[in-house]
């Protein structure tokens, strides 16, 4: 049998790597990719828990997987808009480094 707590542990590790990436990397694209990694880690946790609670008599047996579908939808929409904004920003300032876009910092 698959050790599900190791699955959740893997999800925690991936989420941490994603957070560190979003906080420390300066490239716009890599920051977006780190956020995607965080969403993927959350998906893994959902699917892992769904495997345990699948025989649950009260709720639906597939709650976790349906939530994953919703998360994938939201991620796709977010990427479309996010990349559109990145393209607009890069066209304006000709740099993908977030330090060059920090005009609003005091």
């Amino acid at each position: 049998m698959l050790p599900i707590d190791h699955v959740i542990g893997l999800s925690a590790v991936l989420f941490t790597i994603g957070t560190v990436g979003a906080l420390t990397r300066r490239n716009l694209i890599v920051m977006l990719m780190s956020i995607e990694l965080m969403l993927n880690a959350a998906n893994l946790a959902f699917v892992g828990f769904n495997r345990i609670w699948a025989a649950n008599p009260e709720g639906s047996a597939l709650d976790g997987q349906i939530f994953v579908l919703m998360v994938v939808t939201v991620a796709a929409a977010e990427i479309a808009i996010g990349l559109g904004m990145v393209i607009a920003l890069v066209r304006n300032r000709d740099s993908m480094n977030v330090e060059d876009h920090s005009v609003l910092k005091w």
């Binding site: 995607e36 495997r51 994953v68 990427i79």
Partner: protein, 169 residues
């Protein structure tokens, strides 16, 4: 030590390796993107081991096959000579905050998982996680979230078209 457990650990190691590659390839953004692709494909393999067949297929088709290709597309359009990497180190405060956040999150998560004592995964009916069950659930119990997701995608499409339009005035 069944073949499933061995596969799971191999795929988990590959996923972490890909995520670290995404984090640590400072000079080549495309290598970062490919690291994330490796992570996503290995996560799809783990979903297969967890009896989530439709989610595994959709993970590869949507995430690894469309979203990451869009990332590569934007990188290729705007940084073809690969000279736009992180030039300087991130500011000290960012590294400190990231380090503390990482340690806290990992600690809390692992402690929570260890102390929760999750029950074992039981046996599942045949065809669990296939498209039939998920389709039925989506259009009976979860029809409102599905419609809301459709509206969200419509809003995203309209927004993307507006963002990409050239200004005429």
């Amino acid at each position: 030590m069944t073949i499933e457990v061995v596969l799971f650990y191999a795929l988990a190691a590959l996923a972490v390796f890909g995520a670290l590659a995404m984090l640590l390839f400072v000079r080549e953004v495309v290598a970062s993107a490919m690291g994330l692709a490796v992570t996503m494909v290995s996560l799809a393999g783990i979903y297969l081991l967890l009896e989530a067949h439709l989610i595994a297929a959709l993970q590869i088709i949507v995430y690894a096959g469309a979203i990451l290709v869009l990332f590569l597309f934007v990188i290729m359009l705007f940084d073809p000579n690969n000279d736009d990497f992180d030039r300087a180190d991130p500011p000290q405060i960012a590294i400190k905050v990231a380090g503390i956040a990482a340690a806290l999150m990992l600690g809390v998560a692992i402690a929570g998982v260890v102390s929760a004592g999750l029950p074992d995964a039981g046996e599942l009916p045949e065809g669990f996680g296939g498209f039939r069950d998920i389709g039925l659930q989506l259009f009976t119990a979860y029809v409102i979230p599905v419609e809301a997701a459709g509206l969200l995608l419509l809003a995203a499409m309209v927004g993307a078209v507006v963002l990409a339009k050239q200004r005429i005035d």
